[in-house]
Amino acid sequence: MALLPQFLANGVVIGSSYVLVALGLTLIFGILKIVNFAHGEFYVLGGYLAVLGSQLLGFPPLPALVLVIVCMAAFGWGVERFIFLPIGKHDPTNVIIASFGLSILLQNVFLKVAGPEPMIAKSGLPAGAIRLGSVFLTSERIAIVAAAAVTVTVLLVVLRFTWVGLSLRALSENATVARISGINVRRVAVVTFMIGSSLAGLSGALMSSVFMVQPGGGVLVVMKAFIVVVMAGMGSIEGAIVAGLGLGVVEALVTGYLGSEMRDIIGFLIVIAVLAVRPQGLFGLKTERS
């Protein structure tokens, strides 16, 4: 039991990273009903942009993050405009396949441009371990938890208390009602995609100083993010917090007490169990369908 505090701390840090990655995915998923398989590559791209900003251009941390967010928003605009808009509403599987294609494309572009070796971004934060009682952490890991908390708060405030937020939520509920209420659905779709990819890039950038950036690094990340989003219920930010932190803590405890072989098996078994009991996810509203 002496190790429990450290396991919990590990779980909260990793869980916060899951929450961060899941936010962008759940927005795009919940509002536009687009399953973006390439979200993990967006995350990796954010990491590479952070390396570019912090190492090659020598930016301080905050301007480097701004660079990541601006570039990722522009990238999201392009992807929405040239891939998802032409596909339209035909069929959700087509969207999945197209984003699968995008994922392969991006992974191999990364491999070509940046090479297969991992890279690491400079966070500018003080290095070395911080000891809190029996718990060891680093300032970079604490920054992940803080960044997740800030991002979630900002996102919730925007969604709950601003007109932009209202328009996003209206579209996620009922596109027709949103349109006749004067909401330009096209513009909202673009904005959502830009926000979603910025969030993916932001989380990739933050994580790139703790973990490393590699061309194929997005595959596992997107899997975890999907688990969180679906367990949470599509589009539910509150759900993503609970599911993300919950998954992180469960994984840390399983790794700590049962061994890491069991971790992924148990994670996925929990997903199956949750969805078997609540097919709409933990926080999904079971609304009628016409």
């Binding site: 939520r169 509920e173 009602v177 006749i180 004067g182 330009n184 509203l285 609304t287």
Partner: protein, 238 residues
Amino acid sequence: MLECRNVDAGYGKVQILHGLDFVVPTGGLSAILGSNGSGKSTAMKTVAGLVKPTSGEILLDGHRIDELGAHSMAAEGLSLVPQGKEVLAGLSVEENILVGAYHRRKDRHGVAEDLEMVYQEFPRLRTRRKAAAGLLSGGERQMLSLGRALMARPRMLLLDEPSAALAPKVVGEISDIIRKLRGRGLTMLLVEQNVSMALELADEIHILREGRFAYSRKNGPDVDIEELREFYLGKGRS
């Protein structure tokens, strides 16, 4: 005020409306009656901008609106009140009402005023303002849709089957509200299956059959109800 000139519309290659032609004068209330599959909901969607006409023109106060798209209609003064089931189920009642004022969100003061006005008009919505709209009864949802439409400060309302799936008593309440709104000078286009409601409210009655008007006449004491029913059911001559 609203003028449809020879409008054709449909989905993909399937044409539903054939040469729809009618006028709703300012302050007037026209009703389009039709059974299931007659094309009346397509007619409503076309006027509201949700379906683009393949030919013909739609004019509001003399200028064309058929190329604007649904999200611009609110700013033009045209508000659609969809059927009661069409609400933002996961959002609160108040958010549902507020979203109707989206195009004039910069007018903070006016929006707050109108919200108060809607609550006065529909006190039941005030008591449930924090509840999720998906939990409301059918009648309450219909009122919510009306409230949201009013938030746009429309000059004209498009009412899509306000009586659908409602108990007779509630239908009466809705009729009263429509009459009251008309009293304030709102122009209206009503699409209905409920013949008696239309007869009670409308100045002019059109019957839609297979995408064409089979009957168009001024409403009044001289309307032969039997004849009208025959047209509605598809037995009459056109």
